[in-house]
């Protein structure tokens, strides 16, 4: 019991670390792509760690099994959602100056 709680505390601290730096990155970076990297990746890691902590703290087996299924599906749904947002940024003109410089480099390949 006490080992479970200590492991949950470690997962909680790791998640808090990544989540706080993700929030800082969300405000520190200037362009939408970098914000997506910071927010989405660190946010995914933070929420994943929190879900592991909650899995360790689950009061009964039925609840634990549900949390485990949510955990596995979260590994599929999180990158899919961020890919959709990334494609929207690519197709919109919100990162336009950066995009034009990159297009020129692509032609030189």
């Amino acid at each position: 019991m006490i080992i479970r709680e200590i492991l949950a505390l470690i997962a909680f601290l790791v998640g808090t670390f990544f989540g706080l730096f993700g929030m800082i990155g969300l405000f520190r970076f200037r362009d939408p792509y970098s914000r997506l990297h910071a927010g989405s990746l660190c946010g995914t890691t933070a929420v994943f760690s929190y879900l592991i902590a909650l899995l360790l703290l689950a009061p009964s087996a039925a609840i634990g099994a549900r949390v485990f299924i949510i955990l596995v599906f979260f590994l599929i749904s999180a990158p899919t959602g961020s890919s959709i947002v990334a494609k929207f940024i690519w197709e919109s003109e919100d990162a336009t100056t950066q995009r034009s410089s990159m297009k020129r480099e692509d032609k030189s390949l």
Binding site: R28, I69, S83, R99
Partner: protein
Amino acid sequence: MNSRRVWAILRFVLTTLFLYFVWVLFTSDLGLFSLLFGLAASLLTASLTYHIFLPEHEANLRFFIPHLWALLRFLFLMVLSLYQSSFHVVKAIITGNTNPRIVHFRTHLRSDLARTVLADAITFTPGTMTLDLNDDHLTVHWLLCTTTHTKAAGEAVKTKLEHALGRTWL
């Protein structure tokens, strides 16, 4: 019975089994009524949608049935690289020196499922984010770019993942 019909029946059975598995997983109710109702519902749904769920041109069982052991290893690798890449991004946030570029490369995985999983898995490798997947052509935004050369970029981003995925599907 020609081979097209055999393949259609096989796809129908596989779709039904998958739907029934998801039904039992989500209802988590082993009563007789629930089991029979789920079987009927998955048979109906599979008869309507099996040609969309498993397209006819995916003509190999290895295209969508994974190696279980390789799949578990791949999931473990994913979780490991999720933490690793978050650590890289945190380092980039603290120091503030990033080098964002868009790179293009091709994959030689053949099934649609494996390509989709590769596109999702690239999001978990350090500082990369998939923008577009068009047949076998991937467009990737790379936050901590070291090279824009197509072949070198492909090597750096996807080789390890492609290796692990090639053992899981095809």
